[in-house]
């Protein structure tokens, strides 16, 4: 009760507020007291609006202690005055603390009874289990990531070709610029090419006697036709080497009297292809019997691609030509000028091929794949993929044994590929 106002001061304030005289207010408050007394005595309750309620409460008799002597005193039963402030007054007085709400204490270890929760020195660690578990999980994750990242690198091995012939671009450049020490004898005679035969025209038989002997000399120094457009390999200088290798094995033209297929040597073909079913042989004599294929003598600048484009109007069908001439042509990229090749006929046209045509062409692609595989061309698997894409399993079944497992897997990884059964 630090701050007090005297009664007279209070009266003055009320008088100032209302405008009435001090005497009146003084009397008012005095009378108020007596009226309250009367009310308490008669009714036991007096309520003043804006202030509160005065009331009486009966207290029963109780024992007390004399504080000085310490003796017990009996306090008799009696009335007691109480005052309950009005709600508005209470709220007004407590207006600063009205918004504060009571909080429930959740984990106050001190408050709990010592019997239920004995004092525990490791409680501070238990409260931090979350932190420990998070740290362990983090470590675990890091370890797992490292482990699985290592495995990933070793998952896909790079396929290695068996007979890999590497030629660097520098070597190619060197060979081209190298000056020749001896004069190059120019080929004197080109073999006359037969006129381009239409499908309906009959086939002339190739008379070996008619072929001039100069053809043989020209083979000694053949001019290499450019590679086909389909392949873009850095193997241009390979042609020299390939020709030099096959020179001893090359058959001279007088053998064309007999069927070329019958003189097929066993050295050229690998064993895997021998097992497969017989390839349609380039039967030049059979062509004369009304077969509407044609024989084409290779000219300078010819490629299988351009030949196919002329005969079939679709250059992508060139493997069909290679199929029948696979004994004659060692490398599809390398064509010898003057050599005759047999261009087989198609049952349908380029945009409208029959089933037999498709089978022939697919077989051609497979044979091209095998040839490239033998030579070490890195684009070989794509030819196999083309063959599989058409999804004619009978053709592929014939060559199943010769298809390498590595290529099979390589193809299956390409989008849109078909299973090789």
């Amino acid at each position: 009760m630090r701050n007090k106002i005297t009664f007279s001061d209070l009266v003055d304030r009320i008088a100032n507020e209302t405008g009435a005289s001090r005497q009146l207010i003084h009397n008012l408050l005095k009378e108020l007291v007596t009226v309250v007394n009367e009310g308490l005595l008669s009714d036991g309750k007096v309520s003043i609006t804006g202030l509160g309620v005065f009331g009486l409460k009966w207290r029963a008799a109780r024992q007390g202690i004399n504080p000085q002597t310490g003796e017990a005193i009996e306090i008799p039963a009696q009335n007691r005055v109480y005052f309950n402030a009005e709600a508005a007054l209470r709220r007004f007085i407590n207006r600063k603390y009205e918004h504060i709400k009571s909080e429930i204490i959740v984990d106050d270890i001190k408050q709990s009874s010592p019997i239920n929760k004995p004092k525990d020195s490791f409680s501070w660690i238990k409260g931090r289990t979350l932190i420990w578990s998070a740290v362990l999980l983090g470590l675990l994750l890091i370890v797992m990531v490292r482990v699985f990242s290592i495995e990933k690198q070793q998952r896909y091995p790079v396929p290695q070709l068996e007979a890999k012939i590497t030629v660097s671009r520098d070597d190619v450049a060197k060979t081209e610029k190298k000056p020749r020490r001896y004069p190059v004898p120019q080929p004197e005679v080109f073999v006359e090419s037969t006129p381009q035969v239409s499908e309906t025209a009959k086939q002339k038989p190739v008379d070996p006697a008619r072929l001039p002997d100069e053809v043989q000399t020209s083979t000694a120094q053949t001019e290499v036709a450019d590679k086909t457009e389909a392949e873009a390999t850095p193997m241009e200088s390979m042609s020299d080497k390939a020709l030099s290798v096959g020179k001893e094995k090359r058959r001279p033209f007088p053998e064309l009297e007999n069927n070329v297929a019958e003189t097929r040597t066993e050295d050229t073909e690998p064993e895997s292809i021998k097992k497969s079913s017989p390839v349609p042989k380039p039967d030049f004599l059979a062509a004369s019997e009304g077969n509407s294929g044609s024989v084409h003598h290779i000219r300078r600048g010819d490629r299988l691609w351009t030949i196919a484009k002329f005969f079939y109007t679709d250059p992508f069908l060139w493997p069909n030509i290679y199929r029948v001439n696979s004994e004659v042509i060692e490398n599809p990229d390398v064509l010898e000028v003057g050599k005759p090749i047999y261009v087989p006929p198609l049952e349908g046209r380029a945009g409208n091929l029959s089933q037999n045509d498709m089978m022939d062409i697919i077989e051609g692609y497979v044979r091209v794949y095998l040839a490239y595989r033998r030579l070490g061309n890195i684009n070989a698997p794509y030819f196999l993929w083309v063959a599989t894409k058409q999804n004619i399993p009978e053709v592929l079944g014939r060559y199943k044994d010769s298809i390498v497992e590595l290529d099979r897997r390589f193809i299956q990884n390409i989008r849109g590929s078909v299973q090789i059964r």
Binding site: F7, E17, G50, W58, F83, I93, Q111
Partner: protein
């Protein structure tokens, strides 16, 4: 005794119209409220002392829910009756029994 009856009696004793007494009483209670609002206490002689107490923040226990609660601090109004008043009502046996 209700407030209107109080005013009637006051008007009777003072010889003033009731509406005047009503107004005066209202403004006087207003003054009381204001003084209490700024934590000033005042005494009306032979009645008692009106004032405010501060109940500070404290921990309490709810035995039903068996939980401890922090009760916020608050300010309350008190009335200490004067000894005259206490003596006067002491011996009345017709009062409210507990």
């Amino acid at each position: 005794m209700t407030g209107s009856e109080l005013i009637k009696r006051l008007a009777e004793r003072l010889g003033r119209p009731q509406r005047e007494i009503r107004g005066l009483l209202k403004s006087s209670t207003g003054i009381f409220k204001k003084t209490l609002g700024v934590d000033f206490s005042f005494t009306i002689p032979k009645l008692g002392t009106f004032g405010t107490h501060m109940r500070h923040k404290r921990k309490a226990y709810n035995p039903h829910y068996k939980k401890f609660v922090v009760l916020p601090s608050k300010r309350v109004v008190f009335f200490h009756p004067s000894s005259v008043l206490k003596d006067r009502i002491k011996d009345i046996k017709g009062g409210n029994e507990e």
